[in-house]
Amino acid sequence: MPEQVTDTPPPRAWRDRLVAIAWPAALGSLSGALLLLVLLPIAGLLFTSSPGRLLRGLADPLVAPAIRLTIVTTIASLGLIVVCGTPLAWVIARRRNRLWRVLETVIQLPVVLPPAVAGVALLLAFGRRGLLGPGLAVFGVGLPFSTAAVVLAQSFVAAPFYVQAAVAAFRRLDADLVLVARTLGASWPRVFFTVAVPLSWPALAGGAALSWARALGEFGATLMFAGNLTGRTQTLPLTIYTALESDLQTAQSLSIVLVAVAFALLVAIRAGARR
């Protein structure tokens, strides 16, 4: 019997050796493949041009109005999302019945919706023959192919990111803090503005940054619902798409600008989350 204890069966050792080689190799090659897939296109953007040519790309007449329009529309979208989304998140976080749980899911839908579907949906809601179209026409308002349509499209796709972050932050809020504030005579609005919002501030800022990044990149829904009109609805992503047909250099220069902004946002969000 003792020799059975001391003798390691040979097949086992062979398998151990194989695992010792194959496992790191598999981990390395598989994760390396995905890293390359992400890094190569970024490298392509950054290293296939020269600083002088990149600057010349930005001199294209399409660029200045697109930057102006993008800044204005994304700030408007973010304002709309924060002003309406914060109260919505507060209500969702505090109500526990089924209706609000369903609404919480519905508000997340644009995250997984294909942008083309979002564009069709927006047209069918606010378009000339959409749900609200005839009503809006009475007041002389035609939303499609206007700057307002850009803001609506951006808000539609970007709102869930902010609302989700705000709901999570409000749910994390210590219930005792809210209770104590109320025993100290604070009304609900005072609890909201002096306890809930200040304590959720970092999470709200992170959600707003994500939301803004999403609005900044909005392309599909904007193209379908707002069109591609220079100075009116042609935001930076649409300008890249347009420039691609005539001047790859302009498309590349603008892409690098957007990558830089997105990367800065990502770093800021991660730094904010660590605090």
Partner: protein, 242 residues
């Protein structure tokens, strides 16, 4: 002398409650096993829970009366509350915490009264600190100062000593006993610790399964314990000092 009357027989949320007591000058201590409904009784008094039958009144005036359809909103009941972990506002300094509940329109007046409340509890020196920089005993005094700064009509404390290190509990307990005696305001405390009952020298109300099973002074409970819980609770008493 102010009186807080509680008489609740009904369900509140998922819990069925059958509790009646009166708190006056001496502190009233709610004791009972975990899940017995002690904290729920505090919530009923505060107005965070509404029972389907019952009445809560302060000096005869109803705060809650199901039959008369009276339910004073909790922010207008003026009942000071110190929760178990004190729940100091982490984003405000100590002065800001205490000033939060002072009902005065002018900032200067709020701060003046907050400093007064801190001074009364010997913690005026902490005014500029953040809650994260306080010890457990300091947090408790600040939370008490905050609860009292708005001149409430009654005071509720949920296990005021449970979050403290055993080493400081005795001093804090003595301090609290002195303060509560000086305040002479209707006070209801939830506690797990028979030492609190000895030091605070109040009436005990024992709750099990949402209902009062025994009441009286600690000596009465010790002489004739009615349930296993009461027997265990009084068994923890310290030896009578000579």
């Amino acid at each position: 002398m102010s009186m807080l009357d509680v008489d609740v027989r009904g369900t509140a949320g998922a819990l069925s409650i059958d509790v009646a007591f009166r708190a006056g000058a001496a502190p009233l201590l709610l004791v009972g096993p975990n899940g017995a409904g002690k904290t729920s009784v505090l919530m009923l008094i505060l107005g965070a829970l509404a029972p389907d039958r019952g009445r809560v009144s302060l000096d005869g005036a109803a705060l809650y009366d199901r039959d008369a359809r009276i339910d004073v909103p909790l922010e207008r009941r003026r009942i000071g509350f110190v929760p178990q972990r004190y729940a100091l506002f982490p984003h405000l300094d100590v002065l800001g915490n205490v000033a939060y509940g002072v009902p005065a329109p002018a900032r200067a007046e709020r701060d003046r009264r907050a400093r007064e409340a801190l001074a009364e509890l010997d913690v005026a020196a902490l005014a500029a600190r953040r809650p994260a920089q306080l010890s457990g005993g300091e947090m408790q005094r600040v939370a008490l100062a905050r609860a009292l700064a708005g001149r409430p009509r009654a005071l509720l404390m949920d296990e005021p000593l449970a979050a403290l290190d055993v080493s400081v509990r005795r001093d804090v307990r003595r301090f609290l006993a002195d303060r509560l005696r000086a305040l002479a305001m209707p006070t209801v405390l939830v506690t797990h610790d028979v030492a609190d009952a000895e030091a605070l020298d109040g009436d005990l109300v024992v709750i099990e399964g949402g209902a009062v099973v025994q009441r009286g002074r600690l000596a009465d409970l010790a002489a004739r314990p009615q349930t296993d819980f009461v027997r265990q609770f009084v068994a923890g008493r310290s030896r009578p000092s000579p």
